[in-house]
């Protein structure tokens, strides 16, 4: 086994970001509107939907991985996409892991506002578009928490991406699967090297977001 060069490590790190960031962006783009909509409105079946979201927040990533695997395998319902063991499959799995987190935290943030918050703003004659803007502004710290939680969740996730990505060198190997592999191979130096990069990445990203969050609070 050739020792992994710095170049290889950089490549794996870049791929980690290339998988996690799209998954994060999509989960935010889809999850924030859903969280805000469900948080603001009262409708039949809302309780069931909220329970489903809360269950999703606690869903073990390996179970998500298994479901994505079964959906994407050649004889599965989406087998003709040929996404299994590709970046798309990993993004999909991470998206499904991050989405309930984003929706759930957004939902909780909207729910923590005063019951008649919306009415209070409405009675000032603020148009709907601006009401939405005010709402997002009001819960922005929680939204950043949602981003941090989702990013932390998918960046550190290994079970699902291993299952649906396959840890293929140069294609689907990301930091967590590389750590797992090196550990199983007994290559602890390389496992530790990758782990250091992963920890560094999380520190930098969550540190940046936390700094934004703190400055927003001041």
């Amino acid at each position: 086994m050739n020792p992994p060069s710095i170049g290889l490590l950089i490549e794996i790190t870049a791929r980690t970001l290339a998988v996690c960031l799209p998954a994060l962006v999509i989960s935010l783009a889809v999850g924030l509107p859903i969280g805000i909509a469900v948080g603001r409105r009262r409708f039949a079946g809302r309780g069931a939907l909220v329970s489903l979201i809360n269950t999703g927040m606690g869903a073990p990533p390996v179970v998500v991985g298994l479901l994505v695997y079964l959906a994407l395998e050649r004889n599965g319902p989406f087998g003709n996409l040929a996404w299994l063991y590709s970046g798309q499959a990993m993004i999909l799995a991470q998206l499904l892991i991050a989405l309930p987190l984003v929706v759930g935290i957004t939902l909780a943030a909207v729910g923590s506002l005063d019951e008649d918050w919306e009415l209070q703003v409405r009675t000032l004659g603020v148009p709907p578009r601006w009401r939405l803007w005010l709402l997002v502004r009001e819960i922005r710290l929680s939204l950043l928490a949602a981003v941090i939680t989702a990013l932390g969740g998918i960046l550190s996730e290994v079970g699902a991406v291993q299952m649906v990505g396959g840890n293929i060198e140069g294609e689907t190997r990301v930091l967590t699967t590389a750590i797992l592999m090196y550990t199983q191979m007994g290559e602890f130096e390389h496992a530790l090297g990758s782990a250091a990069v992963l920890i560094g990445l999380m520190l930098v990203l969550t540190g940046l977001l936390t700094a934004v969050q703190q400055s927003g609070r001041a």
């Binding site: 293929i168 592999m181 007994g186």
Partner: protein, 298 residues
């Protein structure tokens, strides 16, 4: 834990009112901790057996160990990893006895003094598997090396274990024999860095060629739709050996148990079980024992 269980007894004997929540929680936690610890702590009679994954995943160990435990009272802890990792655990003294299939590495381990003996126990043959349509015409190859060369020249997809396991080492040996870069390098060559099962699944998805041990290949044959395209030739021979770690590095009791395990594997009864193994599930023999009287072979 002792204290909490005696407290529990007191609560039961005296006419104390129903346990309050503040009492119950520490008790529950204590019980959980005790449960977790009891599973972790190696007990007298234990043996740390590090094996290659194919031996465990094929179910062979599960078929053999009850007899060993019954006869000796030893309950081995089994850690299944790639052979490369297994050998390294041997070097680092994180194992009492090894069961691997990487002959060159095993010999180095003995030469270095980390292990004192290497005894071949059983063998079978690696399988070059691929899609039935066989685009690289591996079926017509003269030798395994020729088969690999055909795959590389086509070029056809190939999924490598890439994890320094015994199987991966054999891949590397075949690539070298075929005068190819051990890291592959042709279009379609992929390194999974995963276990045999997942590597076979990836190969199945990609209609790719793959080198596999016989047991795992058979276990995944239906799921992947791959077929065996190779003959059992000497260069695909796959020998599993037991290695005893140097007793100087072990507690004497453990070294003795490692010897007992080695002896157990060589017993005629065990060898017969190995020979029988696999017929029920796969309809064929998976491992050929090496210490069975030829006349007694099934």
């Amino acid at each position: 834990m002792l204290r909490s269980s005696s407290r529990e007894r007191e609560a039961g004997v005296s006419s104390a009112p129903a346990m309050t929540r503040s009492q119950f929680l520490p008790l529950l936690l204590g019980a959980l901790v005790a449960l977790a610890c009891s599973d972790r702590r190696p007990e007298e009679g234990d043996l740390l057996l590090v094996t290659t994954t194919s031996v465990r995943d094929s179910g062979l160990l599960a078929a053999l160990l009850p007899a060993f435990q019954q006869r000796t009272g030893i309950r081995p802890q089994v850690v299944a990893v790639g052979s490369g990792a297994a050998l390294r655990m041997g070097i680092d003294g994180n194992a009492d006895v090894l069961l691997t299939h990487a002959p060159d590495g095993e010999r180095e381990l003995v030469a270095s003094g980390a292990a004192v003996s290497r005894t071949p126990i059983m063998e079978n043959y690696f399988v070059i598997a691929g899609p039935p349509e066989d685009p690289a015409q591996v079926r017509d190859a003269d030798s395994p090396a020729d088969a690999i060369r055909r795959i590389a020249e086509t070029p056809a997809p190939f999924v490598s274990r890439g994890d320094d396991s015994g199987t991966h080492r054999r891949e590397v040996a075949l690539l070298k024999e075929a005068d190819l870069d051990p890291a592959g390098g042709w279009t379609g060559f992929a390194s999974s860095g995963a276990g045999m099962g997942q590597t076979l699944q990836i190969a199945g998805e990609r209609r790719a060629y793959v080198l596999s041990d016989l047991g795992t290949f058979l276990a995944f044959r239906e799921r992947t739709g791959l077929v065996s395209l190779s003959e059992p030739t000497p260069s695909l021979r796959n020998v599993y050996s037991v290695l005893r770690v140097n007793p100087n590095r072990l507690e004497p009791a453990r070294a003795k148990r490692a010897e007992q395990f080695e002896a157990f594997l060589l017993e005629a009864d065990t060898q017969r079980r190995i020979a029988e193994f696999g017929r029920e599930r796969f309809g064929r023999q998976l491992f050929l024992p090496l210490h069975l009287d030829p006349r007694a072979r099934p």
